[in-house]
């Protein structure tokens, strides 16, 4: 790992670092020290494993999608069922880890940002379980797109603050959560939901999410006796993809494919495909790729998926892109919606609109691969939350 300066911490190639206000520096250092202390602590790991297994329902299934495989006529398709986790997505893996860590650090209050609401719901859930106070920041636009999740968070005892600044979406929710953290640090842990932000968050979130690839590896070895040829996941900030990729990074035969949200297309301004349309920048605590204009103003990105509607990408993904280890492709709203409907009808599994981006690309890829090849799609979340939005997309107004 190359480092820009010897003082800067948490680099992935040139990416990463800690570009945050001085007010937060001791807080992230305290977090880093606590994480380094607890990550190998047997008692901490025992507690976390118990929460993951007994509460969140891990390990999640690796399901062979037989009908889909036969219909597409190419590679064997396996679905990693993160949608079956408690709260309906992979977000719970990271949240249980961070909430437990925060509790060990003596924090009594969690704050979080959320886009689709999945991370917010997961954080609200962990807060309820561990008896912590919880405040979730959510772009006002997203509170309207995902009204059900807003009420869910309130049911769980959390306060949801609609963010009206900027584009009123995920990036603004992150900015507002950061502002709140500089305002109240002593008792508060910022439970960041993706592999982004200042060090140590990209590393901590990746480690807590890496349970996904650890399980995939064991499960595929058991079912097929060999590693898959490709692992495919959707990428906004990139936590489910990082979790699904991590234990395969050194297995060079496994293609790692991240699917970005192209929105209405990467040749339009209504896109959120960071690797495909962005350039190097510094924002939200990290150096990475960002959608921005020529003067460095962050672009108002767009995707049908509130969870992928983010102008940046985690620094480790930026590095995997630079080194060519992972490939990042763009998937449009249209393709994602078709995949959403396809998986629902074909396998009886309604995937989150975020995960549908990965399904869409996998459908194209699988058809072109030989029948003896194996691909794994990470179904990062379930699609119940998206049903009303998809109906709207198809011109049908339904009421939740």
């Amino acid at each position: 790992m190359e480092e820009k300066t010897n003082k800067s911490r948490g680099r992935f190639g040139v990416h990463g670092g800690q570009y945050i206000p001085e007010t937060l520096m001791n807080a992230v250092t305290e977090l880093e020290n606590a994480y380094n202390h607890y990550k190998d602590d047997p008692e901490f790991n025992r507690e976390l494993t118990e929460l993951l297994n007994e509460y969140a329902g891990r390990p999640s299934l690796l399901y062979f999608a037989k009908k889909m495989t036969e219909e597409l006529g190419g590679a064997k398709i396996y679905l990693k069922r993160e949608d079956l986790n408690h709260t309906g997505s992979h977000k719970i893996n990271n949240v249980l880890g961070q909430a437990l860590l925060a509790k060990k650090m003596g924090k009594t209050r969690l704050i979080a940002e959320t886009g689709a609401g999945q991370h917010g719901v997961a954080t609200a859930t962990a807060a309820a379980l561990l008896g912590m106070e919880c405040v979730v920041f959510m772009g006002k636009e997203d509170t309207e797109r995902q009204a059900l999740n807003v009420y869910r968070m309130r049911l769980l005892g959390s306060q949801v603050i609609p963010v009206t600044t900027g584009t009123a979406t995920l990036k603004d929710a992150v900015s507002e959560a950061m502002r709140e953290w500089t305002n109240r640090i002593d008792d508060t842990h910022y439970c960041l939901g993706s592999v982004m932000g200042p060090h140590p968050f990209p590393t901590i979130v990746r480690d807590f999410q890496s349970v996904i690839s650890k399980e995939i590896k064991a499960q595929i070895m058991e079912k097929e006796g060999r590693l898959p040829d490709a692992v495919i996941a959707c990428v906004g900030g990139g936590s489910n993809a990082m979790g699904a990729f991590y234990h395969f990074i050194n297995d060079k035969s496994v293609r790692l494919i991240g699917c970005e949200a192209a929105g209405r297309g990467i040749d339009t301004f209504e896109t959120a495909a960071t690797i495909n349309t962005g350039r190097l920048g510094i924002f939200h605590g990290m150096k990475s790729y960002f959608c921005q204009d020529e003067f460095g103003q962050i672009a108002p990105v767009y995707s049908i998926s509130a969870g992928l509607d983010y102008p940046g990408i985690g620094p480790e993904h930026a590095w995997l892109h630079d080194t060519g280890r992972a490939q990042y492709v763009a998937v449009t709203d249209d393709e994602a919606v078709e995949a959403f409907e396809y998986l629902s009808k074909t396998e009886g599994i309604i995937p989150a609109i975020e995960s549908s981006h990965a399904v869409a690309y996998a459908m194209k890829l699988a058809a072109d691969m030989d029948k003896d090849k194996i691909i794994v799609i990470n179904i990062s979340g379930r699609g119940d939350k998206d049903v009303a939005a998809i109906a709207r997309y198809r011109g049908e107004e339904i009421y939740e």
Binding site: S8, E22, S175, I185
Partner: protein, 259 residues
């Protein structure tokens, strides 16, 4: 060493923050002149950023107004050039890392110096990351200003030792904006700065709006920084803001100059 030290030669310094292009660059020009003529010893020119994570609602609003008016970094450089024809007090840019990095750090610093700037403040670049920007600043004779916060504690000495220009002492937790009360033990912070670096001036910012607050803060430091209170005046009077800002600056400078 830049011109910034001169700002601290006329008693306690008054530092005025102005968002460039709010609501137009012509107004900015007039407001800066009015501030300088009425006793501002140092002027911070904010280059607006789409997502200013260290700002409260007032300065966020100014950034939005300026950007929707079509302000760009290049247009701001042109305005500074014009301002420099009549304003001689030291001036620093206050903006976010991506504005400088995206422009090309070296290119930005060169241009900034050419048009007559004296330093840069980037609130999202802490001590650990300053080598990303400080070498280019040094090369072109700009001071890279360091900030310390109420949470800095044992970091203050390390930061102060390498500080250039002045130390921006953040008075309170949270973001910029007017506060009715500042509860931080400022004197403890400035004492640690002086122990580590007796030559560096300390200016206190965040939350200061009234002459009384300025007086209280100036007791513990070499100057006070006011942002949101000025931006509010500009918001209220828009293109006619200059005389009102001038009057305000005068009242603030009068409160602290003979301490």
């Amino acid at each position: 060493m830049s011109n910034i030290k001169n700002a601290f030669k006329n008693g306690k310094a008054f530092v005025a923050f102005i968002t460039c292009g709010d609501p137009t660059l012509e107004t900015t020009e007039q407001v800066v002149k009015a501030a300088a003529e009425n006793g501002a010893d140092l002027i911070e020119l904010g280059i607006p950023f789409s997502d200013p994570t260290a700002e409260g609602p007032v300065i966020q609003g100014a950034n939005i107004r300026a950007l929707s008016g079509g302000v760009t970094t290049d247009k701001i450089f042109e305005t500074v050039k014009k301002i420099r024809k009549s304003v001689s007090v030291p001036m620093v840019f206050m903006t976010y890392a991506n504005v400088v990095y995206s422009y090309g750090t070296e290119r930005f610093c060169k241009k900034a110096r050419e048009v007559g700037m004296d330093g840069i403040i980037l609130p999202d670049v802490p001590f650990e990351e300053k080598e990303e920007f400080a070498p280019a600043c040094r090369k072109y004779g700009l001071d890279f200003i360091s900030l310390i916060a109420p949470t800095s504690n044992d970091r203050i000495s390390m930061i102060a030792k390498e500080a250039e220009g002045f130390v921006y002492c953040v008075s309170s937790l949270g973001v910029t904006g007017v506060r009715s009360e500042i509860t931080t033990d400022i004197s403890a912070m400035t004492k640690l700065v002086r122990q580590a670096n007796p030559d560096i001036p300390c200016a206190i910012g965040f939350g200061i709006s009234t002459p009384e607050q300025a007086k209280n803060m100036a007791r513990h430091a070499d100057g006070v920084i006011v942002g949101s209170a000025i931006v509010k005046i500009v918001e209220q009077y828009a293109n006619n803001a200059a005389p009102f800002v001038g009057e305000y600056v005068k009242s603030m400078k009068t409160a602290i100059e003979n301490m």
